[in-house]
Symmetry: D2
Subunit: 394 residues, 4 copies
Amino acid sequence: MNIAILGTGFIARFYADALQSQRRKDVVRVAYSRNEARAKKFADDYHLPYYFTDINEAVSHPETDVVVIALPNNLHEEAVLACVKAKKHVLCTKPLGRTAAEAKRMLEAVENAGVFGGYLEDLCYTPKFLKSCESIRAGSIGRILWAKSRETHPGPHSEWFWDKAQSGGGAIIDLGCHCVEISRNFIGKNTRPIEVMCWADTQVHPIEAEDHAIGLVKYADGAIGQFEVSWAFRGGMDLRDEVMGTEGTIWLNGFLRTGFEMFSTGKGGYVAEKSETDSGWLFPVGDEVHDLGYSNMFTDMFDAIEANRQPRESFYDGYIVNCILDAAYLSVKTRAWEPVKIDDWRGNDIAATTSHFINYDNEHYLIKEEILPDGKKILILKHQQTGEVTRKQS
Amino acid sequence: MNIAILGTGFIARFYADALQSQRRKDVVRVAYSRNEARAKKFADDYHLPYYFTDINEAVSHPETDVVVIALPNNLHEEAVLACVKAKKHVLCTKPLGRTAAEAKRMLEAVENAGVFGGYLEDLCYTPKFLKSCESIRAGSIGRILWAKSRETHPGPHSEWFWDKAQSGGGAIIDLGCHCVEISRNFIGKNTRPIEVMCWADTQVHPIEAEDHAIGLVKYADGAIGQFEVSWAFRGGMDLRDEVMGTEGTIWLNGFLRTGFEMFSTGKGGYVAEKSETDSGWLFPVGDEVHDLGYSNMFTDMFDAIEANRQPRESFYDGYIVNCILDAAYLSVKTRAWEPVKIDDWRGNDIAATTSHFINYDNEHYLIKEEILPDGKKILILKHQQTGEVTRKQS
Amino acid sequence: MNIAILGTGFIARFYADALQSQRRKDVVRVAYSRNEARAKKFADDYHLPYYFTDINEAVSHPETDVVVIALPNNLHEEAVLACVKAKKHVLCTKPLGRTAAEAKRMLEAVENAGVFGGYLEDLCYTPKFLKSCESIRAGSIGRILWAKSRETHPGPHSEWFWDKAQSGGGAIIDLGCHCVEISRNFIGKNTRPIEVMCWADTQVHPIEAEDHAIGLVKYADGAIGQFEVSWAFRGGMDLRDEVMGTEGTIWLNGFLRTGFEMFSTGKGGYVAEKSETDSGWLFPVGDEVHDLGYSNMFTDMFDAIEANRQPRESFYDGYIVNCILDAAYLSVKTRAWEPVKIDDWRGNDIAATTSHFINYDNEHYLIKEEILPDGKKILILKHQQTGEVTRKQS
Amino acid sequence: MNIAILGTGFIARFYADALQSQRRKDVVRVAYSRNEARAKKFADDYHLPYYFTDINEAVSHPETDVVVIALPNNLHEEAVLACVKAKKHVLCTKPLGRTAAEAKRMLEAVENAGVFGGYLEDLCYTPKFLKSCESIRAGSIGRILWAKSRETHPGPHSEWFWDKAQSGGGAIIDLGCHCVEISRNFIGKNTRPIEVMCWADTQVHPIEAEDHAIGLVKYADGAIGQFEVSWAFRGGMDLRDEVMGTEGTIWLNGFLRTGFEMFSTGKGGYVAEKSETDSGWLFPVGDEVHDLGYSNMFTDMFDAIEANRQPRESFYDGYIVNCILDAAYLSVKTRAWEPVKIDDWRGNDIAATTSHFINYDNEHYLIKEEILPDGKKILILKHQQTGEVTRKQS
């Protein structure tokens, strides 16, 4: 397939690098930027035959089969509408919208037009993440109780992120969108997110938006999603997920501790991205394009278009993420749990958690089995009527 | 000094092990249990000359200089009062009380009697923790923004923990007391804890109390303490602290990843405490008594008694922890931020965070310095009046 | 390009998986096995249009542009000669030969025929390894002093490995070929390997060949390569490299500690390859095909064929590895350092290490600068004539 | 007991710190240095009542019960003889001698005099090491195949180390003595070390002695000890042990990766010992005195004196280490395996490894059980007469 990329910044380059790696058969042909010099430079750097400063020309070009949107948040909707108008498939970077309302309009636009709407949520395509999800679905860690995702770093590099009007917010909209969708995948996408409690503050940077936030998302089955996001972290980019299940635990480290450790006096210059330093102990990532999920993401997107199926991450997922983030922002203001408002819920509507208690006999629940240091096993039991807790030799 | 230990369970044995290790000059002489057989066995195991089933006999014994309370939570107050009556120094296990009211009565009792009141918060004495605090005080990571402490495991071994009447609660009172005091040390004990937001649930075990909770504690200088506690974690005992400061980060792992890794087919039997298994990959701790802080804790306590000074962790600290936990439990019910009520605040009363913004020139704040891949440095600036965000070549 | 794969075992499947991933434009079309059922199954599994049990038919098929040899060690030479006869490009799995003599014949065959000879040394293409080499070339860790590579696991899965006649040896030929080439890349391929000292033993398995070996390879510039290989390791597949340079250190972990950690009670079945267990703490790899280097390896090979250039790993490299391994096997027997015999050396012929000593002044070398705990700096010096060691305040 | 410390340098301070920590009942009373100012300063710093510049005065002082030798290597023998003359118990730092001959004279002197001879091998007393040894003795990892110990750093701080006449050698004698004794403990002290192969070179520093060495020590039961030592490592002090057994693996990290990780911009000054830097990612150790084994070491020594038993590490162990290191130095010169000459062997004299092969049936050995990805189990067998390797469905 032939691809047009809208935007020429940091993320556009990541996308182009991914698309041009490993002898892929799909080809980037068209670049677009509002700024001609940047459009030209991007086309030159990646050897693309065409570049434009008119978005409609780029999108409607005969060699454009699929459009990749890599623009600031405030320009997503306009770009999606241009694709819809030209009846081209569209893959949009994260977050889909700045608000759920914006995201919903984009979702409806692609669905009404019958074009493909892929949500470029790369961190839901990292190799570790995909294998974790598969393993969780196979039952390896049991029922999910808690799924935390953390993304923190010292702050973005492009100025538009810091301007709330363009970005729609701070660390929550920028990084929280990743974390929310990661937790949602772990817990199960058919499980409804019910309510959100969020703390946020502007602790360090002179900006309107938040540079640090922590949020809890409660799901219909009692599971808890947690996001930890910051633009005030020192030490590089901290990218970690943790999941607790009734039968196990998963810990993923996506960036700072991946088995690549290096000490340097600094004579070699740049060695590790976002590391804040080129000397001392450094922790590079082997292959960012692959390890951050870009390769698997585009493979899924193009495979899905060809197979006429939904991708793992669709515009609908982007919309749900925005619904959750809207609730988070509201909770920061009201300082209370806020319901997640989803006008168009397509998953299950299961009720609150049913009892998972284990009966020991007709009268007792089993609280815990314990092996004592001397090898003996004891049981801690609770009487179902009286509530009395007792110990029993096993 | 001569020591009496009240209680003969798991924690009493940890205390006795610590006190009898490394050729210490202070000597345990007296044991007490409500159960005579247990009292006798404890005295035999540790070669103690005296044991009692009457708490007043144990406390008032002429060879008792200092009393160590290692009893269930609901028996702390009675034991403290017995010590006060006998005018003996008292060291009480954590949590001090089940509620702030209970803790306050104990605090006032020791202060009025003029006896020493040490709070046995071992995790605030681990070697890693002490060195971290010292380094933070020296400025190594700047102003503290966030201090998280996590303690999770599959649940306690003694039945009284599971009975809310005796314990006063679940994972929050049992584990949260550690985490709250750890965060408080990182942030600074003179900084007032203002309010708490807490989620808790009973996700797995058939009990009245919570078996999983996550709480945020906001401090007067804008710093956030976070606790993550659970009795539903699988994989051993997860003991980790993370601190973010404006100039750095600290990550401490207290148990599962300390540089001791072992694979075994299981032929050797027991090798790692709380590991849930004796085969596969195991992560033992080298020396629990020392690494969990017991050695340094008792050294500080006896040094403090001799020097007639306060220990690092006193009854007052135990009381503050209970004030914070009271707010956490209330927040679980009200589903909102709850103020921390401290009748007797002895720290600073600083106002909310003052501005930490960095001026770039008379008109602009500096948002961020960025080094581009080509080595050029750019500055992202914000106009102080208009709020406009701009980029500038450095 | 169209590809024929010779062999249908474990490694052939890895190759096919890599070649069919990520929407690559090069296509596997032809399968070959000595066993028809296996050839058919392989073709079915990977949707290949052709399969053969006659190697010449497979190689000379009109839709075969490039041949991938994935056969047991004793069949490499015959397969290479078949490719040469058919004038097809050939990519051969590791080790190239069982001996240097065998490897040299294959090298000469492809060179005389003018076909491409790629050496499928996947572990020299892992993302971490490529980034490390790049960084070392940029000077990040200075002059290389020591480069160790370790590959150990509980032993191979196919029976032919255990039969010395087919394999040519044990852990040295099977795993040492990786480690030797990894060290050689770190130290520099133009630097001549001079001599080898190797210990090997059959410690566990009832076989003729060695199941554990440790070897040292001395290079012309004084650097030392080290390999640690075993078929008797318990705990999975241990894949680690360590490099010491005058200005830094690199540690790579390729398998067991890559930031993916999982505890499971085992309810989900299989979760981690070669882990020896499905319960307890497990350490899966996110994407073996990519993380073990297969993706980058094939990309380099096909790019090199198109660009008519040498790949990073060529038949010549395979030949040099065999020369080093021949010396290692001889050293095991003679129990002494054995010279590496290379009839066809194409790199530099630099002399032994020249002096790297640092002059402090006309009379003294600088041994070391030391910063004392009080912040003072001292210098440790050595007199160039007398050899006297002295300390000097800096 | 009352203690005299001979020497006032780096290691003497470590010893004094350990002896004065944790309210120990044994007391340092006497200091000795050849230099009066240093003796006085040491006595002042540690509040000791007596200090001397005459070794015999220090040793024979009435308040000296036990002498701790913390002097350069070339002064050990003289100091031991002074203790023997005064009939005082003696604890000597590592290495015991510069050669086996020197060590043997010291061993015989204490044994003939009937005084206690403790060998201060702290790294054989670290909490992780002690727990590992205990677990290995219980069978957790089966029969030991290989035990490697590594100690590398950028070089010692005191000038006498760099002068071969005083130190007796370079990294081998300084660091190898630790590593050899660590491996020996893992493998079993009653198992005879047979022969040594060692490479050494002076790669970086302008000294006569070696600054980098790697050695293999073969034991009578077929196990291999390995030491890796260097004064040319960059990145701090790398202290790691690895053990392979037939049933498992142990990995210990003693310094750089112990679960204490810190990023700092450097505003706080000194935070981690031997880290080469105060900014970037730092890896401090919680409590060096305890974690490096000093606490347990002195506890064992004084307990042993009181109980009139041998300590874990005695002068005899120091002598065996010197025998092994003598063979290592000889091997560096002869470039071949050299026998370990032990005039006074007190362990077992077991013959070479007996067969450990597992019989599958009367005709076959079992090479390996393999679980295939489809869950089927296969067996790889070897015919005991023909040597043929076959596969069998299990």
